[in-house]
Amino acid sequence: MLFYIFAILAILSGAFMVLTRNLLYAGFSLLVTLLSLAGIYVLLFADFIAVTQLMVYVGGVLVLILFGIMLSSRVHDKSVLSENVNTVWGPLVSGLLLVGLGYTILKAEIASLPWLLTADTDVLGPQKSTVQSIGIKLMTDVVVPFEVASLLLLIALIGAAYIATDKPKV
């Protein structure tokens, strides 16, 4: 039941985001989409992922997007509206994606997936959240991708600081 509420909210706000001409409304409906996705994550027992999603996307990315829209909303005394571009390639690519996803889902035989058959059992067991297992995995099995991601973020940070500094006149 809860899942359907969150799913409908996500789909409606996603559709509104695509269809509205007002960029700012699109930004705020993205907020609803992200919140309902976080709700779906919680229903999937992925509490850490849900909160991380809120932290990174709502607290960081969305604020940045809104700031960008607000600071650049009146170019030449005209408010910026989103326009229709890529009228051929856009529908084509998204249609292909839909077909591909639909095909995969139909082929997957969801009813016989091993993790679905054991869905009735208590996933978390004695643990209270998924943090411990995620932490252990990050430090053992997937430590290389983890470190590479942190290096990438560090490079991005240094690059941003470099771009933002005033260059001293030579």
């Binding site: 907020l31 509490d47 809120l54 932290m55 709502v58 960081g60 607000m70 959240s129």
Partner: protein
């Protein structure tokens, strides 16, 4: 549902007391009397203020973005109020005892920022817009030192659960499921050989368990002042420049909600500071030999005595912090924007990074 209603009632009571205290503290610091007419010593003043606000006309500016303007106060208050869900009020009562409470709190507070932007934009007023921009810039940057200070606590406590962190800071520690055999040592260092598990009281508070957290506490407190837009960090509401900041166009009930959200934010950050650093609902009195003050002033977990003592200690510690917030407002002048950013990025953040490093080393000594 019950937790929702109880928390809301408690919050409203605390905010009303706080609004009264703000006026009285401000008055005494300026050698005035403050409200005296309504009720004994003017104590009915905040209730009457609210009553007056509710009677006012609800004005929506003609040129405002009506939907956003009306939605913003609800979003701001909902974001702050959602943070109260993970705060443990007594040893046995916490509205939602989820395992990643600290992380959840940090994330849900950031929703507040979206509401501020919505209010500033929806008002279609340049003062409101500037106020919202300043407020958001300030909150987003001060989240970093605050987050690092909280991170050092999490490293010392090895937990993201507020209730587990609370139990670790008192004589009742061994009653928490999963920590039956854990022990506290003086200053957290096992080598000293002084076992404080049953002594409890102030010796097991986080600022005592790992003295480096005292620095983290100061950093968190400064950053939390900025996050709740309190003086000396109140440039988003600088009356002399911006009239009132992002809520300049609001009136009546909507203004009351924004006002409530602002005071709730103050209460929330103080509660978090108390829970993480100052021993949560634990008593400050230690057991000294046969005089077991800590047990006498803690009650029994799960019974009425435990609930009353826990709530009493938590709320009185919170009020001490809130009083400091009020006092600071009349002690320090407002910071300029460049001073604000200097303090955040060049002072607090490097110190907080150092504290995180030392907290990690300290944790190694605690094992």
């Amino acid at each position: 549902m019950l937790a929702f209603v109880l928390t809301l009632v408690l919050l409203l009571l605390v905010v009303i007391v706080l609004a009264y205290a703000e006026r009285k503290v401000a008055a005494f610091m300026q050698d005035r009397l403050g409200p005296t007419e309504a009720g004994p010593y003017g104590s009915l003043q905040p209730a009457l203020d609210v009553l007056k606000l509710l009677q006012k006309e609800d004005i929506v500016p003609a040129a405002a973005d009506k939907a956003l303007f009306k939605l913003a106060p609800i979003l701001i208050f909902a974001a702050v109020f959602a943070g109260f869900a993970v705060i443990p009020f007594t040893p046995a009562t916490v509205p939602a005892g989820i395992g990643i409470g600290v992380f959840y709190l940090l994330a849900i507070i950031s929703l507040d920022v979206i509401g501020l932007l919505m209010a500033g934009w929806g008002s279609n007023n340049k003062y409101a817009m500037l106020g919202a921009m300043r407020s958001v810039a300030q909150i987003v940057s001060y989240e970093i030192p605050a987050g690092l200070a909280i991170l050092s606590v999490v490293m010392i406590c090895q937990s993201l659960d507020f209730q587990e962190i609370s139990y670790q800071q008192g004589a009742l520690m061994n009653q928490f499921p999963g920590m039956e055999y854990d022990m506290n040592w003086l200053f957290g260092i096992r080598e000293l050989g002084i076992n404080t598990t049953t002594i409890g009281g102030i010796t097991t508070w986080n600022i005592f368990r790992a003295p480096i957290l005292l620095v983290a506490f100061v950093i968190y407190f400064i950053a939390s002042l900025a996050e709740s837009n309190r003086a000396p960090f109140d440039i988003p509401e600088a009356e002399s420049e911006l009239v009132a900041g992002f809520h300049v166009e609001y009136s009546g009930f909507r203004f009351a909600v924004l006002f409530l959200a602002e005071y709730s934010m103050m209460v929330l950050v103080s509660l978090v500071a108390v829970v993480l650093f100052l021993g949560s609902w634990n008593t400050p009195l230690p057991n000294i030999g046969p005089v077991s003050l800590a047990y006498w002033t803690s009650g029994t977990v799960g019974e009425v005595s435990g609930i009353l003592w826990g709530a009493f200690w938590l709320i009185s510690k919170t009020f001490v912090l809130l009083f400091v917030q009020l006092q600071l407002r009349w002690t320090y002048p407002r910071l300029r924007v460049d001073q604000l950013m200097h303090l955040c990025w060049k002072v607090l953040t490097p110190v907080a990074l150092g504290v995180v490093l030392i907290a990690g080393i300290w944790r190694l000594l605690m094992i």
